[in-house]
Symmetry: C2
Subunit: 556 residues, 2 copies
């Protein structure tokens, strides 16, 4: 059996290794247009930051062997053609035309099965000056080397990142570590479009505290300079820039597939079935070049991730070798380190869920990520999105210095199994003080959702409160924290009655006015609301997330 694999970064080498394991007699050839293969693209920001010392480490096996063509030949019995371009697929003849890039002559490789692992390309908008020196994308090893060389050559002072998505934020952190002054220019009203606005706002505040300048609602119009970039022109003014990194997203690399007449999905990526098979039964595709099913909404999305590429490469290999296997889909799970914060999400955001016409309840749970008395405990801000109809989890988001990845991966399994928040709240998660509170954060979040679904907790979002304050609505904004907490930090116009004193001071509050209660995390706020309701107050709500997740200015 002859297998040709086009693409040698993640899905391609994974498929090759698995095919050889299942069928040692197979003749497997990987065609890769770059000099490098099987490198960890997701590690590039950490190579730029210096955390990863050598480029080689991104291309090594865990025991330090470089995954070069010799390695693939000797260890895996896989032939690798680097710096070789695939030019054309002849589906009838079942062959691929390839050409060594420096040389001019093409060669046809015959296949029984073909795997497309062509990956994605960075989107570069057609802006004037994009060809100037020191205008980069961060997509491959060459980009990272270029950026590093520039940083070494002279003290970089001003860098503009175009786009506040995942890669834009990761490289922002790396460059800030390297001493640069970084400005992110984002055309949308928030960076991290994968998060709801309120969580994104907390992350933006954290980045700003680390010296990053973030310009939202701002569009880049041109890069300016003589030979080298010097300025970025936006609709809101000019920014100094000795380096620019364009990180406005990637698009699937589908030119070959399209030319060969394979079906392309509405997302622009190659359409595959659960077996990773394209519309041609002898051609499989995996990784950044394909679209996959969103497990919550059922819609097809393009969600390029190294983790998905590896799984899909394995599924394609199994099916090619006659072993039944199916890739179910993705949840759009994402995690990102942003200075001292971990930021993560999975499933649907509140925004997306509402756009898809779900009737949703949201639950906010800020709190320490382990037993609060442990000195290692750190704050974590959690938000769940829940389907009111069936009480199932729809999505989860987390941000903060605390352990976000554990709670998100737990949410991934809850989503994949269509669990209700009632089920989630009783999971027997591992507990010891150095690892979690006795009631884990995700369990508390699930319980907050249950309290809302059952009508015990009526809430109002921070954004709604902010609007009420701005419109000078007549309501009682009731802070039930302690005087010490109040002294440290306050919300505008809030009056303080500590929860412990509330029962004795009810007569200070007008029963006919709406009340919005809160505390640090709105647990005491919830208890205060119950006390007020029991005392005959009619319109009492709790502010979601408390002062911990208030995304606006606070008074100090």
């Amino acid at each position: 059996m002859r297998i040709v694999i086009i693409g040698g970064v993640a899905a391609g080498p994974k498929a090759a290794s698995k095919i050889i394991r299942l069928n040692p007699e197979a003749e497997v050839t990987i065609v890769e247009k770059d000099k490098y293969l099987s490198y960890a693209g997701c590690g590039l920001p950490y190579y730029v930051s210096g955390e990863v010392k050598e480029q080689k480490e991104l291309m090594c096996t865990p025991v330090g062997v470089v995954r070069d063509p010799v390695f693939f030949q000797k260890v895996k019995n896989v032939r690798v053609l680097t710096e070789t371009e695939a030019l054309e697929i002849d589906r009838k003849g079942k062959r691929v035309l390839v050409r060594k890039m420096q040389e001019g002559v093409g060669e046809w490789l015959s296949y029984d099965k073909l795997v497309l692992a062509t990956g994605s390309d960075p989107v570069v908008p057609p802006l004037p000056g994009k060809e100037l020196k020191n205008v980069y994308t961060l997509h491959g090893v060459h980009d990272a080397e270029g950026i590093k060389a520039f940083l070494q050559g002279e003290q970089a002072k001003d860098v503009v990142i175009v786009g506040g998505g995942l890669i834009g934020v990761e490289i922002t952190e790396a460059l800030t570590h390297r001493g640069c002054r970084v400005t992110i220019v984002e055309k949308m009203p928030q960076i991290f479009g994968m998060l709801d606005w309120d969580l994104a706002k907390l992350v933006m505040q954290h980045m700003e505290a680390h010296g990053v300048k973030i310009l939202v609602d701002t569009e880049v119009q041109a890069f300016q300079g003589e030979g080298e970039v010097r300025e970025v022109l936006t609709n809101k003014g000019v920014l100094p820039a000795e380096m620019v990194i364009i990180a406005v997203g990637v698009k699937p690399q589908v030119a070959l597939a399209k030319a060969a007449g394979l079906k392309i999905g509405a997302t622009g990526a190659i359409k595959v079935d659960e077996r990773q098979c394209t519309s041609d039964p002898d051609i499989y595709a995996a990784g950044d070049c394909v679209e996959c099913r969103d497990l919550v909404s059922g819609k097809n999305i393009h969600m390029p991730m190294g983790s998905t590429a590896n799984k899909q490469g394995r599924v394609a290999a199994n099916n090619i070798c006659g072993v039944q296997d199916a890739f179910p889909g993705v949840l759009g799970s994402v995690i990102c380190k942003v200075f001292d914060y971990s930021v993560a999400r999975t499933g649907l955001t509140e925004k997306t869920a509402r756009e898809l016409k779900y009737d949703v309840v949201t639950a906010y749970a800020p709190g320490p990520d382990r037993a609060h008395f442990m000195p290692t405990a750190k704050p974590l801000f959690l938000k769940l999105v829940v389907d009111k109809k069936n009480r199932q989890l729809l999505g989860a988001q987390a941000a903060g210095p605390g352990d976000a990845d554990k709670r998100m991966d737990v949410s991934v399994l809850a989503l994949s199994n269509h669990m209700t928040v009632d089920q989630l709240a009783n999971m027997d998660l591992c507990y010891a003080p150095p690892y979690s509170p006795a009631m884990d954060n995700i369990i508390t979040a699930a319980n907050v959702a249950r309290n809302k679904l059952d009508g015990y907790l009526e809430s109002v979002s921070a954004a709604e409160v902010k609007a009420m304050l701005e419109e000078q609505k007549d309501f009682v904004f009731l802070d039930v924290r302690s005087p010490a907490e109040y002294e440290e930090i306050r919300l505008p116009k809030a009056i303080l009655i500590p929860l412990g004193a509330l029962r004795g001071r009810l007569q200070e509050l007008p029963k006919d006015k709406p009340v919005v209660a809160f505390c640090k995390i709105s647990l005491r706020g919830y208890e205060a609301a119950l006390v007020l309701k029991a005392a005959g107050f009619k319109d009492v709500k709790v502010m979601d997330g408390g002062i911990a997740m208030w995304p606006y200015e606070k008074e100090q």
Copy 2:
């Protein structure tokens, strides 16, 4: 509605708070025999170690308010009677006889619903000398204060811990941090009976490397000394001991329930239904005093955990207030910090699964807990137990310096949802290099299990190899790592042929002898086995877990 709750540590206060939230008019009384209530018992080892500085912190809310009777009265509207003993339940009259402990007079408290949250007591074997000074258990704040006072009073040199379970190990770590020389005496062949032997062995080696002496298969016969303990007499000799901590387990406190004629389960704990209701419809029970269902085996077990107590307290409160709620059961999830290791488990061990007659496959996955090129990556040793019949996960164990809790909590959800390893392997877990490898450890472990279930990977355990070596069986013990790795550390009698050289050196190996291949983590070992099988070798197996999880002596 009058509610009486007996027990004020975890389940009791949780039930009280929730009842008041659901029904602010309820008259709730907590009866607690100790002076302290609502303290974090699981935090005691960290108070002894000094990580938690003040006793008060264990009794505070996350914002630093001490949960004393005044707090409960003012904030929660719950009456608390401390240092008050419940002596008798009059089920017909629906009342409880209580007595303030220093005073002599009893008082009957009437109830509409009663909650038993009586907790558990440490087991103290009837050994001679157990009443000597400085012989402790670690069950309450008083014990911790006693131990701390002793450590302050004079430089403790020799401490003997009786029992190598969770609490024994936690206090061992705490006392080692405090400069003590600690010996654990365990009557079973391993400490950490909740783990399989091979994982426990790795943990024991780690503890020994931190100076802890561990005596297994050893029984304590007496404590000796004049007034104060000086020695521990065992069946294997005498150990010096200036302090002894007995940590051989806890037993549910069921005296009141028993005397009242409530049903007690085979485990010795109170029998409750899913609603946490006892055999009396007006009496509920929650926490360490009840038994619960093991979600994998379906059997009832006694698994006292603070996390479970909190959940059950909430479920009891809901049902008392007429809100339907059910506690499904537990998985025996446990986690523990042991010096630089995290040690965790959930579901069935291999040993328990085999005792319960499951046909099991085990999968070992040692490896870095995040992208191997990240300087923050640390090793983690994972073991999965899988049901051969339906490919469902039965249990998971983890140990090592790496992030164990995340992988165990993911396993908790996989177990709770009866997931197969095939489903687990395709979960869209959050990936970025600072958080996990592209293929998360748990996904790799699931794939190892799949390779075994599908017959691609034939394995042999380290224990079986050890036996083969000791019986001088005639087989090839094939190390396929690199020369550099071999130079650093080796297994006895293994011969080295690096994987990359194997295809060219096949003639050095006899085709008629059994071969056991391995590498650091047995991935290359697996590839080597496939190469040998393809070349006509008939009897080729891979050693589970590689050299990383070899629990015996290595050659350096």
